[in-house]
Amino acid sequence: MLDKTGIAKRIAKEIKDGYYVNLGIGIPTLVANYIPADMDVVLQSENGLLGMGPFPFEGEEDADLINAGKQTITMLPGSAIFDSAMSFGMIRARKVNLTILGAMEVSENGDIANWKIPGKMVKGMGGAMDLVASAENIIVAMQHVNKAGESKLLPQCTLPLTGVNCVKKIVTELAVLDVLPGGGFKLLERAPGISVEEIKNATVGKLIIEGEIPEMEI
């Protein structure tokens, strides 16, 4: 089974040289730590920055320079600043190659729910609805089951949707799965020490298993 770092490391392998990538809050943020140093990858922060750098050293924080999670960050040589309309313009126009975000539920046809639990305090969707509606390639980083032990990979989402037919790939602590265009979670890889049976038991939506399923390399 993978921990959060493991999930981030596995997702980092999906990033290609030259990609512009938007990372969501939580596990996706950790992915930045595992992008190979010899790759040119530019991180987009939707509050208006391309070329997001690491956290500043203590004493060098700049209140005018934050990421979409409102954390103090730095810029890199070649960074660019722009306003919020242009930021979502480049997202809508599919200039961003890959979006990585968390989810509460994903359905077998690629619907995603990650912004609202009815009856609880609602914080809002932020930029998630814009990102999932437009991104060409969306990878979801999440736990396979929720805190109550229920599967988050479902035939249909039960929570209010963030977007429909959009998720392409899911990486959990148990497995890597593709969401097929015709519907269904196709099992691609098992986490170290996890059996196909364990993945089956944790997946309520349609799971497609073809041939031997390799253990993932991290």
């Binding site: 509050n47 500043p56 203590e58 409102k70 919020s84 309309a85 969707m125 437009s134």
Partner: protein, 239 residues
């Protein structure tokens, strides 16, 4: 043409009850701090505020919420604010949550003189309820209307007396698009200079969009999430 006002109190003198305000900023970054303080002092109420966030309990729009000055909040993300949560759950505050890109682009549309935009954000979700859907090249889009706000209140780094504005780093965020979208736009700047002192090639908001400008004072520029890297190790410490 005189756009220069003495301070925030003067610049917002005609903001009155039940008006709609666009307020720049993302989180606590790039907030028109002086104008917010002046609006709190003036005590106007039943405002509709359009801003990406609602501040925190004791900073930003949170200060206006605390004084019960806000009737309706239109935002994309409103976490991190206990008073906001209390007013929402008690029904005192009306809240409309909209996608962040939709928020930005509805401002842009107003500033570009376009009545509406089409965006795929929210298709198939509760955001789409009651809205017109149009299909272009086989993909569905929601029609979202340009904002119609009485005032846009923004914060820039530098400005000149003609109203030209330059923002700094990610404090730019919603400020330029909101500056374009108000019937009356008020800009507060950290440094107000004479015409000719700003390079025309570097202007982010042309002064035609800005009706009032003043040099703000005492910027707190609070940091919401102070995150730092591990300390730099000296070569000796490394070995």
């Amino acid at each position: 043409m005189n756009k220069v006002f003495k301070n925030a109190d003067d610049a917002i003198h005609d903001v009155t009850d039940r008006m709609t305000l666009l307020l720049g900023g993302f989180g606590l970054c790039g907030l028109p701090e002086n104008c917010i303080t002046a609006i709190v002092k003036k005590g106007v109420s039943e405002l509709t505020c359009i801003s990406n966030n609602a501040g925190v309990d004791d900073f930003g729009i949170g200060l206006m919420l605390k004084q019960r000055q806000v009737k309706k909040m239109i935002a994309s993300y409103v976490g991190e604010n206990a008073e906001f949560e209390r007013q929402l759950l008690s029904g005192e505050l009306e809240v409309e949550l909209i996608p962040q890109g939709t928020l930005a682009t509805r401002c842009m549309a107003a500033g570009y003189g376009m009545p509406a935009i089409f965006t795929p954000a929210g298709i198939g979700t509760e955001v789409a309820i009651g809205k017109e859907v149009r299909s272009f090249n086989g993909k569905d889009y929601l029609m979202e209307m340009a904002f119609d706000a009485d005032f846009a209140i923004v914060k820039a780094w530098k400005g000149d007396t003609m109203g030209n504005l330059i923002y700094r780093a990610t404090a730019r965020n919603f400020n330029p698009v909101m500056a374009m979208a108000g019937k009356i736009t008020i800009a507060e700047v950290e440094e107000l200079v004479e015409p000719g002192e700003l390079d025309p090639d570097q202007i982010h908001t042309p002064g035609i969009y800005v009706h009032r400008i003043f040099e703000g004072v005492d910027y707190e520029k609070r940091i919401e999430q102070r995150t730092v890297a591990p300390p730099k190790l000296s070569p000796e410490a490394r070995s």
